[in-house]
Amino acid sequence: MSTAATASTLKGARLPKWSPYAIAAGSVALGLGISFAAGLESSIQWALIAGLLFVLGTYVIAARVEGRRQAKDRIATSLVWVAFLLAVVPLVSLVWSTVSRGLKVLDFYFLSHSMGLVADSEPGGGIYHAILGSLEQVALATVIAAPIGVLTAIYLVEYGRGRLAKAVTFFVDVMTGIPSIVAGLFILSIMLMFDMEPFGFAGSLALAILMMPVVVRSTEEMLKLVPNELREASLALGIPKWRTILKVVIPTSIGGITTGIMLAVARIAGETAPVLLLVWGNSLINANPFEGAQQSLPLYIYQQYANSAGAGAAYDRAWAASLTLIAFVMILNLVARGIARWKAPKTGR
């Protein structure tokens, strides 16, 4: 038996499974050591040094033990990891600072009371009026923008031919690039023509302008994903085109369409500039979006921060409102994912 004597041509030297972790730990230690020795104080610096050492170390070690091809493979893997960490660090630190500072004053009282007559520099008060205003303005904007956006996308994908479709696509692209302040100014100019006071619905109109192109784009992509075979199968049954779209195309893509709308809602929920111009802000509860100034969450955050002249209580409220806004957007995203999963075409047996 000479199995031991014949070396396998398929086997090569391999680094042990734990080696990437060991190299990572080593480069972190080395990075800390170097920055300590050099007297660098910023934590960004040692992390960058560690990242660089990790990529280089992986390459050198892998090249010596495993060979050049495997080393290239490992350098790609380690670059992806470093890039991932670089992307995640700001996110985690943002969430961490918002949560840690926002929880200070966030309680049921804060969520269920308005600012009322509490001065910006004093503690107390809440964001009930801002939540109410945000919900109403965003809901009205969605009611306007979602149907128009979805119908436009249906036109573009199912019917659009020739010049009109190209023009619509072009203007949707242009709309995507409209800065939110410009949308606000556009509505403001109309308001000034009719001598109107700020009110919530004006903000909704500006938000709808910002939301529409996002809905059109995402819905368009979702409708394009519906296989043509399904449309043909339906048409071949003698089903009219409009019913084919309504009963076959849209149900097949409804999950993606709702996700797109929810993401667009999340986007406009954080808009401040048009709301500042058109809704004005209000420290009292105003449940009527069609008359009088209203409050909204992003505007509340801005005003607490800008008008308080460094008062700690106002900063705390701004952070707590930020946390509420992030939570609101998170919940919307989760709902969207839930709907997408629930409505996705089923494949079970």
Binding site: R161, P227, E229, L230, R231, E232, A233, S234, L235, A236, L237, G238, I239, P240, K241, R243, T244, K247, V248, P251, T252, P345, K346, T347, G348, R349
Partner: protein
């Protein structure tokens, strides 16, 4: 019930490209007609002109006449939707509606064409699934999604869906090319049964299949790539496979083509 198709001088285009040229033939009611020929020769295009599905493709247009029992499908005032209710179609790849259950898939044609009572629908669905030899396999799971069936079952589901609206003619575009031999056999048997009630036209690349299922066979060919496809000959299947009148047909059938 089944209707006769008379095609005369039919030419179809994709934009400026002429896909098939000057095709004339008669398809007898209650018979199976098979179309054979090399890829790209326009068999499928021709099939799709028979229920006005050709014009669904962008740039698709047609010249010539297609008579369905003396009524021109391309005549003035003809509604393509009504044409497709009379001339049903089964596609190459099984394409059940993914959001619908097996029951809803079969009922789709009726339900989306107008209002039907639940009891009527149940009857039609059972009859159609039995007609497609699928009833015994799915009767206990009519509410499960259609996409959970095997490929062969899905294709029979599509046939059930097509015959549920009681068309006069059934067009099949390579219905077995994505299926294994056992499912193919099941569908070929089904074609034999369906021809009692419908006029059937089937496109196939499988010459044994054409020989097995069809009464008449049409051979299509194209002079060169980029040239329009033409009908070379149409005759009794036995004649085509034993003693065709055109040399090109014999070459194609005996595998001496190209």
């Amino acid at each position: 019930m089944a209707k006769r198709i008379d095609v005369s001088g039919l030419t179809a285009y994709y934009g400026s490209h002429k896909a098939i040229e000057d095709i004339s033939m008669t398809v007898e009611p209650r018979s199976v007609t098979a179309f054979i020929g090399p890829s790209g020769c326009g068999k499928s295009t021709f099939l799709r002109t028979l229920n006005r599905m050709h014009e669904v493709t962008s740039g698709g247009r047609v010249e010539g006449k297609v008579l369905l029992d003396d009524e021109d499908l391309y005549g003035q005032g003809i509604d393509p939707v009504s044409v497709r209710r009379e001339v049903g179609m089964v596609f190459q790849r099984p394409n059940p509606f993914p959001t619908m259950s097996i029951f809803d898939n079969v009922a789709a044609g009726l339900r989306l064409n107008g209002s039907y009572k639940k009891s009527e629908l149940t009857d039609v669905v059972e009859k159609s699934l039995k007609g497609a030899n699928l009833w015994n396999e799915v009767k206990d799971r009519l509410n499960k999604p259609g996409s959970g069936l095997s490929g062969g079952q899905q294709q029979r589901l599509c046939i059930a869906r097509a015959i549920a609206v009681e068309p006069k003619v059934l067009l099949m575009d390579e219905p077995c090319s994505a299926l294994d031999p056992i499912s193919t056999l099941a569908i070929e048997d089904l074609i034999g049964e369906l021809k009692e009630r419908f006029t059937i036209v089937i496109v196939t690349h499988n010459m044994q299949q054409a020989a097995r299922v069809s009464d008449r066979t049409a051979f299509f060919n194209l002079a060169a790539v980029g040239q329009p496809g033409k009908l070379i000959e149409i005759d009794e299947t036995e004649r085509i496979f034993s003693n065709p009148s055109v040399q090109a047909t014999e070459d194609y059938i005996s595998g001496r083509f190209g």
